[in-house]
Protein backbone atom coordinates (compact mmCIF):
# COMPACT_ATOMS: atom_id res chain seq x y z
CA UNK A 1 0.00 0.00 0.00
CA UNK A 2 2.61 2.49 -1.08
CA UNK A 3 -0.29 4.61 -2.19
CA UNK A 4 -1.19 5.53 1.39
CA UNK A 5 1.80 7.85 1.65
CA UNK A 6 0.90 9.64 -1.54
CA UNK A 7 -2.72 10.01 -0.37
CA UNK A 8 -1.60 11.47 2.91
CA UNK A 9 0.61 13.94 1.11
CA UNK A 10 -2.25 14.80 -1.15
CA UNK A 11 -4.56 15.40 1.82
CA UNK A 12 -1.88 17.48 3.55
CA UNK A 13 -1.51 19.63 0.45
CA UNK A 14 -5.24 20.03 0.21
CA UNK A 15 -5.51 21.01 3.86
CA UNK A 16 -2.72 23.53 3.45
CA UNK A 17 -4.57 24.92 0.46
CA UNK A 18 -7.80 25.21 2.48
CA UNK A 19 -5.94 27.05 5.23
CA UNK A 20 -4.58 29.57 2.74
CA UNK A 21 -8.02 30.09 1.25
CA UNK A 22 -9.62 30.54 4.67
CA UNK A 23 -6.95 33.11 5.49
CA UNK A 24 -7.71 34.88 2.21
CA UNK A 25 -11.46 34.87 2.98
CA UNK A 26 -10.77 36.36 6.40
CA UNK A 27 -8.60 39.14 4.96
CA UNK A 28 -11.15 39.96 2.27
CA UNK A 29 -14.06 40.01 4.72
CA UNK A 30 -12.19 42.25 7.16
CA UNK A 31 -11.19 44.59 4.35
CA UNK A 32 -14.79 44.71 3.11
CA UNK A 33 -16.18 45.57 6.56
CA UNK A 34 -13.43 48.14 7.04
CA UNK A 35 -14.07 49.78 3.69
CA UNK A 36 -17.88 49.71 3.95
CA UNK A 37 -17.82 50.66 7.65
CA UNK A 38 -20.45 47.97 8.10
CA UNK A 39 -20.62 44.22 8.19
CA UNK A 40 -20.74 41.13 10.37
CA UNK A 41 -17.06 40.31 10.86
CA UNK A 42 -17.51 38.11 13.95
CA UNK A 43 -19.65 35.57 12.08
CA UNK A 44 -17.52 35.93 8.93
CA UNK A 45 -14.45 34.84 10.88
CA UNK A 46 -16.18 31.88 12.54
CA UNK A 47 -17.35 30.33 9.24
CA UNK A 48 -14.29 31.11 7.07
CA UNK A 49 -12.70 27.65 7.43
CA UNK A 50 -16.01 25.91 6.68
CA UNK A 51 -16.57 27.94 3.50
CA UNK A 52 -12.97 27.47 2.38
CA UNK A 53 -13.31 23.70 2.81
CA UNK A 54 -16.59 23.54 0.93
CA UNK A 55 -15.56 25.70 -2.01
CA UNK A 56 -12.07 24.34 -2.47
CA UNK A 57 -12.51 20.64 -1.87
CA UNK A 58 -16.09 19.50 -1.41
CA UNK A 59 -18.70 21.17 -3.62
CA UNK A 60 -19.16 20.09 -7.22
CA UNK A 61 -19.81 23.24 -9.24
CA UNK A 62 -18.82 25.11 -12.36
CA UNK A 63 -18.73 28.89 -11.97
CA UNK A 64 -19.04 29.21 -15.76
CA UNK A 65 -22.35 27.32 -15.61
CA UNK A 66 -23.89 28.29 -12.29
CA UNK A 67 -27.30 26.80 -13.15
CA UNK A 68 -25.92 23.38 -14.07
CA UNK A 69 -28.71 21.05 -12.89
CA UNK A 70 -26.17 18.50 -11.64
CA UNK A 71 -24.36 20.95 -9.37
CA UNK A 72 -24.16 20.53 -5.63
CA UNK A 73 -26.22 23.18 -3.87
CA UNK A 74 -24.87 25.36 -1.08
CA UNK A 75 -27.31 27.48 0.91
CA UNK A 76 -26.00 30.27 3.14
CA UNK A 77 -28.77 30.16 5.73
CA UNK A 78 -26.83 32.60 7.95
CA UNK A 79 -27.23 35.15 5.19
CA UNK A 80 -25.83 38.10 7.12
CA UNK A 81 -22.27 36.79 6.87
CA UNK A 82 -21.80 38.06 3.34
CA UNK A 83 -18.24 39.23 3.94
CA UNK A 84 -17.13 35.60 4.09
CA UNK A 85 -19.72 34.26 1.64
CA UNK A 86 -19.02 36.75 -1.15
CA UNK A 87 -15.29 36.26 -0.69
CA UNK A 88 -15.74 32.50 -1.02
CA UNK A 89 -17.83 32.95 -4.18
CA UNK A 90 -15.38 35.40 -5.74
CA UNK A 91 -12.47 33.16 -4.79
CA UNK A 92 -14.27 30.24 -6.42
CA UNK A 93 -14.58 32.20 -9.65
CA UNK A 94 -18.24 33.17 -9.71
CA UNK A 95 -17.45 36.86 -10.18
CA UNK A 96 -14.37 39.11 -10.21
CA UNK A 97 -12.56 39.52 -6.93
CA UNK A 98 -12.41 43.27 -7.68
CA UNK A 99 -16.21 43.38 -7.21
CA UNK A 100 -15.67 42.79 -3.50
CA UNK A 101 -14.61 46.43 -3.33
CA UNK A 102 -18.21 47.44 -4.08
CA UNK A 103 -19.55 45.66 -0.98
CA UNK A 104 -22.57 47.59 0.38
CA UNK A 105 -21.93 50.52 -1.94
CA UNK A 106 -24.90 52.20 -3.67
CA UNK A 107 -26.12 50.07 -6.56
CA UNK A 108 -23.71 47.22 -5.83
CA UNK A 109 -24.66 43.62 -6.54
CA UNK A 110 -23.06 42.89 -3.20
CA UNK A 111 -26.05 43.60 -1.00
CA UNK A 112 -25.88 43.18 2.78
CA UNK A 113 -27.66 39.86 2.33
CA UNK A 114 -27.26 37.61 -0.71
CA UNK A 115 -29.61 37.92 -3.69
CA UNK A 116 -29.60 35.17 -6.32
CA UNK A 117 -30.82 37.62 -8.95
CA UNK A 118 -27.73 39.78 -8.43
CA UNK A 119 -24.99 37.19 -8.09
CA UNK A 120 -24.25 33.81 -9.64
CA UNK A 121 -23.60 31.12 -7.06
CA UNK A 122 -26.32 32.34 -4.70
CA UNK A 123 -29.07 29.71 -4.69
CA UNK A 124 -31.76 31.50 -2.66
CA UNK A 125 -32.15 34.89 -1.03
CA UNK A 126 -31.45 34.70 2.68
CA UNK A 127 -31.02 37.22 5.44
CA UNK A 128 -34.05 36.80 7.63
CA UNK A 129 -33.03 33.84 9.78
CA UNK A 130 -34.69 30.46 9.51
CA UNK A 131 -35.17 30.52 5.74
CA UNK A 132 -32.21 28.67 4.27
CA UNK A 133 -32.73 25.22 5.74
CA UNK A 134 -36.32 24.76 4.50
CA UNK A 135 -35.22 25.75 0.99
CA UNK A 136 -32.27 23.36 1.20
CA UNK A 137 -34.68 20.61 2.25
CA UNK A 138 -36.77 21.33 -0.87
CA UNK A 139 -33.65 21.02 -3.04
CA UNK A 140 -32.83 17.70 -1.40
CA UNK A 141 -36.39 16.45 -1.95
CA UNK A 142 -36.09 17.37 -5.64
CA UNK A 143 -32.86 15.37 -5.82
CA UNK A 144 -34.45 12.46 -4.00
CA UNK A 145 -37.47 12.38 -6.36
CA UNK A 146 -35.16 12.34 -9.39
CA UNK A 147 -32.60 9.99 -7.82
CA UNK A 148 -30.06 12.67 -8.77
CA UNK A 149 -26.58 12.47 -7.29
CA UNK A 150 -26.10 16.12 -6.33
CA UNK A 151 -25.68 16.97 -2.66
CA UNK A 152 -27.18 19.85 -0.73
CA UNK A 153 -25.31 21.71 2.01
CA UNK A 154 -26.70 24.41 4.28
CA UNK A 155 -24.63 26.53 6.65
CA UNK A 156 -26.64 27.86 9.56
CA UNK A 157 -25.88 30.03 12.52
CA UNK A 158 -26.47 28.59 15.96
CA UNK A 159 -28.65 31.47 17.17
CA UNK A 160 -30.66 30.88 14.02
CA UNK A 161 -31.80 27.58 15.51
CA UNK A 162 -34.10 29.56 17.77
CA UNK A 163 -36.33 30.04 14.70
CA UNK A 164 -39.16 27.51 14.59
CA UNK A 165 -38.95 27.09 10.83
CA UNK A 166 -35.53 25.43 11.25
CA UNK A 167 -37.10 22.67 13.29
CA UNK A 168 -40.00 22.28 10.88
CA UNK A 169 -37.37 21.67 8.20
CA UNK A 170 -35.20 19.44 10.41
CA UNK A 171 -38.20 17.27 11.29
CA UNK A 172 -39.21 16.87 7.66
CA UNK A 173 -35.66 16.10 6.47
CA UNK A 174 -35.43 13.34 9.07
CA UNK A 175 -38.83 12.00 8.05
CA UNK A 176 -37.88 11.95 4.36
CA UNK A 177 -34.48 10.39 5.08
CA UNK A 178 -32.69 12.99 3.00
CA UNK A 179 -29.27 11.42 2.95
CA UNK A 180 -28.24 13.91 0.27
CA UNK A 181 -28.59 16.79 2.76
CA UNK A 182 -25.91 18.06 5.13
CA UNK A 183 -26.42 20.93 7.53
CA UNK A 184 -23.40 22.56 9.10
CA UNK A 185 -24.06 24.55 12.25
CA UNK A 186 -21.59 27.35 12.91
CA UNK A 187 -21.63 26.73 16.67
CA UNK A 188 -19.82 29.81 17.94
CA UNK A 189 -22.18 30.05 20.92
CA UNK A 190 -22.83 33.75 20.48
CA UNK A 191 -25.84 35.40 18.94
CA UNK A 192 -26.18 39.10 18.23
CA UNK A 193 -25.95 40.38 21.76
CA UNK A 194 -25.28 37.49 24.12
CA UNK A 195 -24.38 33.82 24.45
CA UNK A 196 -26.99 31.47 22.98
CA UNK A 197 -27.13 29.55 26.24
CA UNK A 198 -28.01 32.71 28.20
CA UNK A 199 -30.66 33.75 25.68
CA UNK A 200 -32.62 30.63 24.76
CA UNK A 201 -30.41 27.62 25.24
CA UNK A 202 -29.80 25.19 22.39
CA UNK A 203 -28.18 22.40 24.35
CA UNK A 204 -28.28 19.46 24.27
CA UNK A 205 -27.98 20.31 20.60
CA UNK A 206 -26.66 17.01 19.25
CA UNK A 207 -29.42 15.11 21.05
CA UNK A 208 -32.05 17.36 19.50
CA UNK A 209 -30.88 16.70 15.95
CA UNK A 210 -30.48 13.00 16.64
CA UNK A 211 -34.04 12.92 17.99
CA UNK A 212 -35.20 14.50 14.73
CA UNK A 213 -33.73 11.60 12.76
CA UNK A 214 -30.34 13.00 11.84
CA UNK A 215 -26.87 11.56 12.03
CA UNK A 216 -24.85 14.00 14.11
CA UNK A 217 -21.13 14.70 14.13
CA UNK A 218 -19.20 17.15 16.26
CA UNK A 219 -16.13 18.73 14.75
CA UNK A 220 -13.68 21.55 15.37
CA UNK A 221 -14.94 24.06 12.81
CA UNK A 222 -11.46 25.52 12.43
CA UNK A 223 -9.82 22.19 11.58
CA UNK A 224 -9.89 21.85 7.78
CA UNK A 225 -8.61 18.27 7.88
CA UNK A 226 -11.48 17.15 10.10
CA UNK A 227 -14.03 19.19 8.14
CA UNK A 228 -12.73 17.81 4.86
CA UNK A 229 -12.98 14.25 6.02
CA UNK A 230 -16.55 14.66 7.26
CA UNK A 231 -17.81 16.68 4.32
CA UNK A 232 -16.23 14.66 1.56
CA UNK A 233 -17.40 11.24 2.76
CA UNK A 234 -19.95 10.11 0.14
CA UNK A 235 -23.54 9.68 1.26
CA UNK A 236 -26.54 8.10 -0.44
CA UNK A 237 -29.70 9.95 -1.34
CA UNK A 238 -31.68 7.83 1.08
CA UNK A 239 -30.63 7.61 4.67
CA UNK A 240 -30.26 9.92 7.60
CA UNK A 241 -29.40 13.50 6.76
CA UNK A 242 -26.13 14.65 8.31
CA UNK A 243 -25.86 17.41 10.90
CA UNK A 244 -22.34 18.67 11.54
CA UNK A 245 -22.01 20.72 14.68
CA UNK A 246 -18.93 22.78 13.86
CA UNK A 247 -17.55 24.17 17.09
CA UNK A 248 -16.18 27.56 16.24
CA UNK A 249 -15.03 30.80 17.78
CA UNK A 250 -16.83 33.95 16.76
CA UNK A 251 -14.18 36.36 15.46
CA UNK A 252 -11.65 33.49 15.05
CA UNK A 253 -8.20 34.65 13.96
CA UNK A 254 -8.48 38.22 15.25
CA UNK A 255 -7.67 38.36 18.95
CA UNK A 256 -9.75 41.38 19.85
CA UNK A 257 -12.82 39.95 18.09
CA UNK A 258 -12.66 36.42 19.48
CA UNK A 259 -15.68 35.52 21.61
CA UNK A 260 -16.80 39.14 21.72
CA UNK A 261 -20.53 39.52 21.04
CA UNK A 262 -19.87 43.18 20.22
CA UNK A 263 -18.12 42.12 17.02
CA UNK A 264 -21.31 40.56 15.64
CA UNK A 265 -21.63 43.86 13.84
CA UNK A 266 -18.65 46.11 13.67
CA UNK A 267 -16.06 47.96 11.72
CA UNK A 268 -12.37 47.59 12.36
CA UNK A 269 -10.44 50.87 12.49
CA UNK A 270 -7.28 51.31 10.38
CA UNK A 271 -5.13 50.25 13.32
CA UNK A 272 -7.39 47.32 14.15
CA UNK A 273 -7.28 46.13 10.55
CA UNK A 274 -3.48 46.30 10.56
CA UNK A 275 -3.36 44.34 13.79
CA UNK A 276 -5.75 41.72 12.39
CA UNK A 277 -3.56 41.28 9.30
CA UNK A 278 -0.44 40.95 11.45
CA UNK A 279 -2.11 38.26 13.52
CA UNK A 280 -3.25 36.42 10.39
CA UNK A 281 0.29 36.67 8.99
CA UNK A 282 1.65 35.11 12.16
CA UNK A 283 -0.87 32.29 12.09
CA UNK A 284 -0.18 31.53 8.45
CA UNK A 285 3.56 31.43 9.12
CA UNK A 286 3.13 29.14 12.12
Amino acid sequence: MGKAVATEEFVDARVADIRRRADWIRRQALTMAHRAKQGHPGGDMSCADILATLYSAVLRFDPANPQDPTRDRFVMSKGHCTGAFYSALAGAGYFPVADLETYLQPGSRLNGHPNRNYLPGVETNTGPLGHGLPVAVGMAVAGQIDAADFRVFALTGDGELQEGSMWEAAMFAGHRKLGNLTVIIDRNRLQQGAPTEDTNSLEPLADKWAAFGWEVADVDGHDPAALLELLSTPRGANGKPLCIIAHTIKGRGVSYMENQAGWHHGTPSDAQLAQAFAELDAELAA
Binding site: P69, R73, N115, R116, N117, E123, T124, N125, T126, G127, P128, G130, H131, L133, P134, V135, A136, V137, G138, M139, A140, V141, A142, G143, I145, D146, A148, G164, S165, E168, A169, M171, F172, H175
Partner: protein, 317 residues
Amino acid sequence: MSAAPQGKGFDCRNAYVETLEALAAEDPRIVAVVNDSVGSSKLNRFRDQFPERLVNVGIAEQNMVGVGAGLANGGKVPFVSGASCFLTGRALEQIKADIAYSNVNVKLCGISSGVAYGELGATHHSIEDLAWLRAMKGLTVIVPSDPWETAEAIRWAAGYDGPVFIRVSRMAVPALARPEGARFEAGKAEILRDGSDVAIIACGTLVHRALDAAEALAAEGISARVLNMATVSPIDREAIVAAAGTGAIVTAEEHVVRGGLGGAVAEVVVEERPVPMRVLGFPGFLETGSAEWLFERHGLTPAGIAAAARELIEKRS
Protein backbone atom coordinates in the same frame (compact mmCIF):
# COMPACT_ATOMS: atom_id res chain seq x y z
CA MET B 1 -75.88 35.56 -17.82
CA SER B 2 -75.13 34.13 -14.38
CA ALA B 3 -78.30 32.30 -13.71
CA ALA B 4 -77.20 29.86 -11.01
CA PRO B 5 -78.84 30.84 -7.75
CA GLN B 6 -76.69 31.87 -4.80
CA GLY B 7 -75.36 28.92 -2.88
CA LYS B 8 -75.47 26.65 -5.91
CA GLY B 9 -72.84 26.28 -8.58
CA PHE B 10 -69.27 25.11 -8.78
CA ASP B 11 -66.54 24.57 -6.24
CA CYS B 12 -63.45 25.91 -8.05
CA ARG B 13 -61.18 23.45 -6.23
CA ASN B 14 -62.40 20.78 -8.62
CA ALA B 15 -61.31 22.78 -11.65
CA TYR B 16 -57.98 23.37 -9.92
CA VAL B 17 -57.19 19.72 -9.22
CA GLU B 18 -58.53 18.39 -12.51
CA THR B 19 -56.33 20.84 -14.38
CA LEU B 20 -53.33 20.07 -12.21
CA GLU B 21 -53.74 16.32 -12.75
CA ALA B 22 -53.96 16.82 -16.51
CA LEU B 23 -50.88 19.06 -16.51
CA ALA B 24 -48.94 16.66 -14.29
CA ALA B 25 -49.66 13.80 -16.68
CA GLU B 26 -47.93 15.80 -19.43
CA ASP B 27 -45.18 17.47 -17.44
CA PRO B 28 -43.13 15.37 -15.02
CA ARG B 29 -41.71 18.51 -13.40
CA ILE B 30 -45.04 19.34 -11.77
CA VAL B 31 -45.24 18.49 -8.08
CA ALA B 32 -47.78 19.38 -5.40
CA VAL B 33 -46.66 20.54 -1.95
CA VAL B 34 -49.16 20.53 0.89
CA ASN B 35 -49.44 21.16 4.62
CA ASP B 36 -51.49 18.11 5.60
CA SER B 37 -54.14 19.55 3.29
CA VAL B 38 -54.44 16.67 0.82
CA GLY B 39 -58.16 16.40 1.49
CA SER B 40 -59.04 20.08 1.77
CA SER B 41 -57.03 20.79 -1.37
CA LYS B 42 -58.79 17.80 -3.01
CA LEU B 43 -55.45 16.28 -3.97
CA ASN B 44 -56.23 12.66 -3.04
CA ARG B 45 -56.49 11.62 -6.66
CA PHE B 46 -53.29 13.49 -7.55
CA ARG B 47 -51.54 11.61 -4.72
CA ASP B 48 -52.85 8.28 -5.97
CA GLN B 49 -51.73 8.99 -9.54
CA PHE B 50 -48.39 10.58 -8.72
CA PRO B 51 -47.39 9.37 -5.25
CA GLU B 52 -43.76 10.50 -5.67
CA ARG B 53 -44.86 13.97 -6.68
CA LEU B 54 -47.06 14.80 -3.71
CA VAL B 55 -44.85 16.31 -1.01
CA ASN B 56 -46.73 16.57 2.27
CA VAL B 57 -44.66 18.50 4.81
CA GLY B 58 -47.26 18.20 7.54
CA ILE B 59 -48.66 21.16 9.45
CA ALA B 60 -45.75 23.50 8.79
CA GLU B 61 -46.48 26.33 6.38
CA GLN B 62 -43.15 28.11 6.67
CA ASN B 63 -41.34 24.92 5.75
CA MET B 64 -43.90 24.21 3.02
CA VAL B 65 -43.16 27.46 1.21
CA GLY B 66 -39.39 27.11 1.67
CA VAL B 67 -39.53 23.53 0.39
CA GLY B 68 -41.46 24.83 -2.61
CA ALA B 69 -38.64 27.26 -3.37
CA GLY B 70 -36.09 24.46 -3.04
CA LEU B 71 -38.05 22.18 -5.36
CA ALA B 72 -38.11 24.93 -7.98
CA ASN B 73 -34.34 25.25 -7.59
CA GLY B 74 -34.14 21.52 -8.29
CA GLY B 75 -36.03 21.97 -11.58
CA LYS B 76 -39.53 21.16 -10.39
CA VAL B 77 -42.67 23.21 -10.99
CA PRO B 78 -44.23 23.15 -7.54
CA PHE B 79 -47.87 23.97 -6.82
CA VAL B 80 -47.86 24.81 -3.12
CA SER B 81 -51.39 24.38 -1.81
CA GLY B 82 -52.89 25.13 1.54
CA ALA B 83 -55.76 26.97 3.15
CA SER B 84 -55.15 30.53 2.04
CA CYS B 85 -55.35 31.92 5.57
CA PHE B 86 -52.39 29.79 6.72
CA LEU B 87 -50.41 29.77 3.48
CA THR B 88 -50.34 33.55 3.24
CA GLY B 89 -50.49 34.57 6.88
CA ARG B 90 -48.22 32.04 8.51
CA ALA B 91 -45.64 31.94 5.73
CA LEU B 92 -45.74 35.57 4.64
CA GLU B 93 -42.01 36.15 5.10
CA GLN B 94 -41.22 32.94 3.22
CA ILE B 95 -43.44 34.13 0.38
CA LYS B 96 -41.58 37.45 0.44
CA ALA B 97 -37.97 36.25 0.74
CA ASP B 98 -37.96 32.72 -0.69
CA ILE B 99 -40.50 33.18 -3.49
CA ALA B 100 -41.12 36.78 -4.59
CA TYR B 101 -37.77 38.41 -3.78
CA SER B 102 -35.86 35.33 -4.90
CA ASN B 103 -38.06 35.33 -8.02
CA VAL B 104 -38.49 31.59 -8.31
CA ASN B 105 -40.85 29.44 -10.30
CA VAL B 106 -43.33 28.51 -7.58
CA LYS B 107 -47.13 28.53 -7.81
CA LEU B 108 -48.88 29.29 -4.55
CA CYS B 109 -52.50 28.16 -4.42
CA GLY B 110 -54.58 29.66 -1.62
CA ILE B 111 -57.39 27.17 -1.13
CA SER B 112 -60.72 27.93 0.55
CA SER B 113 -59.87 31.59 0.32
CA GLY B 114 -61.86 34.60 1.48
CA VAL B 115 -64.59 33.78 3.99
CA ALA B 116 -65.23 30.24 2.75
CA TYR B 117 -64.67 28.99 6.31
CA GLY B 118 -67.37 31.46 7.45
CA GLU B 119 -68.41 30.16 10.86
CA LEU B 120 -64.88 29.15 11.84
CA GLY B 121 -64.14 32.82 12.38
CA ALA B 122 -61.60 35.45 11.50
CA THR B 123 -58.56 33.22 12.13
CA HIS B 124 -59.72 31.07 9.22
CA HIS B 125 -60.78 33.87 6.90
CA SER B 126 -58.28 34.96 4.30
CA ILE B 127 -59.40 38.50 3.57
CA GLU B 128 -56.11 40.32 4.07
CA ASP B 129 -54.12 38.23 1.59
CA LEU B 130 -54.52 40.42 -1.48
CA ALA B 131 -53.23 43.46 0.40
CA TRP B 132 -50.22 41.53 1.71
CA LEU B 133 -49.35 39.86 -1.55
CA ARG B 134 -49.91 42.61 -4.05
CA ALA B 135 -47.36 44.72 -2.18
CA MET B 136 -44.73 42.24 -3.41
CA LYS B 137 -43.52 43.21 -6.83
CA GLY B 138 -42.93 40.33 -9.19
CA LEU B 139 -45.55 38.08 -7.61
CA THR B 140 -48.52 37.74 -9.98
CA VAL B 141 -51.75 37.60 -7.97
CA ILE B 142 -54.79 36.01 -9.63
CA VAL B 143 -58.33 35.69 -8.29
CA PRO B 144 -60.32 33.52 -10.71
CA SER B 145 -64.07 34.03 -10.94
CA ASP B 146 -65.35 30.60 -11.96
CA PRO B 147 -64.24 27.06 -12.85
CA TRP B 148 -63.21 27.93 -16.40
CA GLU B 149 -61.05 30.82 -15.27
CA THR B 150 -59.57 28.75 -12.43
CA ALA B 151 -58.52 26.06 -14.90
CA GLU B 152 -57.15 28.63 -17.34
CA ALA B 153 -55.20 30.42 -14.62
CA ILE B 154 -53.67 27.15 -13.40
CA ARG B 155 -52.71 26.23 -16.96
CA TRP B 156 -51.23 29.67 -17.55
CA ALA B 157 -49.29 29.54 -14.28
CA ALA B 158 -47.79 26.15 -15.15
CA GLY B 159 -46.41 27.55 -18.37
CA TYR B 160 -45.19 30.84 -16.92
CA ASP B 161 -41.66 31.00 -15.49
CA GLY B 162 -42.09 32.98 -12.29
CA PRO B 163 -43.90 33.27 -8.97
CA VAL B 164 -47.70 33.24 -8.98
CA PHE B 165 -50.37 33.26 -6.30
CA ILE B 166 -53.80 31.92 -7.27
CA ARG B 167 -56.75 32.29 -4.94
CA VAL B 168 -58.92 29.19 -5.28
CA SER B 169 -62.48 29.52 -3.98
CA ARG B 170 -64.57 26.72 -2.53
CA MET B 171 -67.67 28.90 -2.39
CA ALA B 172 -70.13 27.88 -5.08
CA VAL B 173 -70.03 30.12 -8.14
CA PRO B 174 -71.83 29.82 -11.46
CA ALA B 175 -69.96 29.23 -14.71
CA LEU B 176 -69.91 32.63 -16.38
CA ALA B 177 -71.12 32.97 -19.96
CA ARG B 178 -68.24 33.95 -22.21
CA PRO B 179 -67.98 34.53 -25.92
CA GLU B 180 -66.76 31.67 -28.09
CA GLY B 181 -62.97 31.49 -28.10
CA ALA B 182 -62.54 33.54 -24.91
CA ARG B 183 -59.09 33.11 -23.46
CA PHE B 184 -57.50 33.95 -20.14
CA GLU B 185 -54.80 36.55 -20.26
CA ALA B 186 -52.86 37.28 -17.08
CA GLY B 187 -52.70 40.99 -16.33
CA LYS B 188 -55.67 41.83 -18.55
CA ALA B 189 -59.13 42.77 -17.33
CA GLU B 190 -62.02 41.07 -19.05
CA ILE B 191 -64.99 43.23 -20.05
CA LEU B 192 -67.94 40.94 -19.40
CA ARG B 193 -70.54 43.60 -20.11
CA ASP B 194 -70.11 47.00 -21.67
CA GLY B 195 -71.74 50.09 -20.22
CA SER B 196 -71.33 53.87 -20.06
CA ASP B 197 -72.88 55.23 -16.84
CA VAL B 198 -70.76 53.44 -14.26
CA ALA B 199 -68.13 50.70 -14.13
CA ILE B 200 -68.21 47.80 -11.70
CA ILE B 201 -64.81 46.18 -11.24
CA ALA B 202 -64.85 42.87 -9.41
CA CYS B 203 -62.79 39.74 -8.90
CA GLY B 204 -63.41 36.16 -7.80
CA THR B 205 -66.73 35.36 -6.17
CA LEU B 206 -67.99 38.91 -6.70
CA VAL B 207 -67.92 38.83 -10.49
CA HIS B 208 -71.20 37.00 -11.00
CA ARG B 209 -72.82 39.24 -8.39
CA ALA B 210 -71.55 42.29 -10.28
CA LEU B 211 -73.14 40.94 -13.45
CA ASP B 212 -76.45 40.45 -11.65
CA ALA B 213 -76.19 44.01 -10.31
CA ALA B 214 -75.63 45.33 -13.83
CA GLU B 215 -78.71 43.44 -14.98
CA ALA B 216 -80.81 45.08 -12.24
CA LEU B 217 -79.40 48.52 -13.05
CA ALA B 218 -80.21 48.04 -16.74
CA ALA B 219 -83.85 47.54 -15.82
CA GLU B 220 -83.71 51.05 -14.33
CA GLY B 221 -82.07 52.49 -17.41
CA ILE B 222 -78.55 52.59 -15.93
CA SER B 223 -75.85 51.25 -18.21
CA ALA B 224 -73.14 49.56 -16.12
CA ARG B 225 -69.87 48.18 -17.46
CA VAL B 226 -68.63 45.04 -15.67
CA LEU B 227 -64.93 44.24 -15.54
CA ASN B 228 -63.55 40.96 -14.28
CA MET B 229 -60.19 42.00 -12.78
CA ALA B 230 -58.88 38.49 -12.18
CA THR B 231 -55.27 39.66 -12.05
CA VAL B 232 -55.03 41.95 -9.05
CA SER B 233 -51.28 42.35 -9.42
CA PRO B 234 -49.93 43.59 -11.74
CA ILE B 235 -53.15 45.45 -12.38
CA ASP B 236 -54.50 46.40 -15.81
CA ARG B 237 -54.09 50.17 -15.63
CA GLU B 238 -55.43 50.79 -19.11
CA ALA B 239 -58.72 49.06 -18.40
CA ILE B 240 -59.12 51.07 -15.20
CA VAL B 241 -58.47 54.38 -16.93
CA ALA B 242 -60.99 53.42 -19.58
CA ALA B 243 -63.49 52.41 -16.88
CA ALA B 244 -63.04 55.81 -15.23
CA GLY B 245 -64.32 57.22 -18.49
CA THR B 246 -67.81 56.14 -17.39
CA GLY B 247 -67.53 58.71 -14.59
CA ALA B 248 -67.84 56.40 -11.59
CA ILE B 249 -66.33 53.13 -10.37
CA VAL B 250 -67.59 50.57 -7.88
CA THR B 251 -65.20 47.81 -6.85
CA ALA B 252 -66.29 44.58 -5.19
CA GLU B 253 -64.14 41.85 -3.64
CA GLU B 254 -64.15 39.11 -1.01
CA HIS B 255 -61.50 40.96 0.98
CA VAL B 256 -61.21 43.78 3.49
CA VAL B 257 -61.78 47.22 2.02
CA ARG B 258 -58.18 48.22 2.68
CA GLY B 259 -55.43 47.38 0.26
CA GLY B 260 -57.10 44.83 -1.99
CA LEU B 261 -58.66 45.18 -5.41
CA GLY B 262 -60.38 48.45 -4.44
CA GLY B 263 -57.10 49.89 -3.23
CA ALA B 264 -55.32 48.81 -6.39
CA VAL B 265 -57.98 50.40 -8.59
CA ALA B 266 -58.00 53.59 -6.49
CA GLU B 267 -54.23 53.95 -6.85
CA VAL B 268 -54.62 54.09 -10.61
CA VAL B 269 -57.74 56.26 -10.56
CA VAL B 270 -56.26 59.02 -8.38
CA GLU B 271 -53.11 59.13 -10.48
CA GLU B 272 -54.63 58.89 -13.93
CA ARG B 273 -58.27 59.93 -13.98
CA PRO B 274 -59.96 60.81 -10.67
CA VAL B 275 -63.64 59.88 -10.51
CA PRO B 276 -65.90 59.06 -7.53
CA MET B 277 -65.42 55.49 -6.28
CA ARG B 278 -67.00 53.09 -3.84
CA VAL B 279 -64.96 50.19 -2.50
CA LEU B 280 -67.12 47.24 -1.46
CA GLY B 281 -65.68 44.54 0.75
CA PHE B 282 -65.47 43.53 4.38
CA PRO B 283 -64.79 46.06 7.16
CA GLY B 284 -62.32 43.89 9.12
CA PHE B 285 -62.48 40.87 11.43
CA LEU B 286 -65.93 39.43 10.96
CA GLU B 287 -68.79 38.13 13.05
CA THR B 288 -69.78 34.47 13.28
CA GLY B 289 -71.78 33.37 10.29
CA SER B 290 -71.76 31.41 7.09
CA ALA B 291 -69.99 32.81 4.07
CA GLU B 292 -73.32 33.54 2.42
CA TRP B 293 -74.60 35.31 5.53
CA LEU B 294 -71.44 37.41 5.74
CA PHE B 295 -71.80 38.43 2.09
CA GLU B 296 -75.41 39.50 2.74
CA ARG B 297 -74.61 41.32 5.94
CA HIS B 298 -71.86 43.38 4.35
CA GLY B 299 -73.67 44.22 1.15
CA LEU B 300 -71.62 41.99 -1.14
CA THR B 301 -74.77 41.13 -3.08
CA PRO B 302 -76.18 42.21 -6.43
CA ALA B 303 -78.50 44.58 -4.53
CA GLY B 304 -75.62 46.01 -2.49
CA ILE B 305 -73.47 46.55 -5.57
CA ALA B 306 -76.37 48.12 -7.50
CA ALA B 307 -77.15 50.45 -4.57
CA ALA B 308 -73.52 51.63 -4.48
CA ALA B 309 -73.61 52.30 -8.22
CA ARG B 310 -76.87 54.23 -7.91
CA GLU B 311 -75.48 56.38 -5.09
CA LEU B 312 -72.40 57.28 -7.09
CA ILE B 313 -74.48 58.26 -10.11
CA GLU B 314 -76.80 60.40 -7.98
CA LYS B 315 -73.86 62.11 -6.33
CA ARG B 316 -72.42 62.93 -9.73
CA SER B 317 -75.62 64.50 -11.12
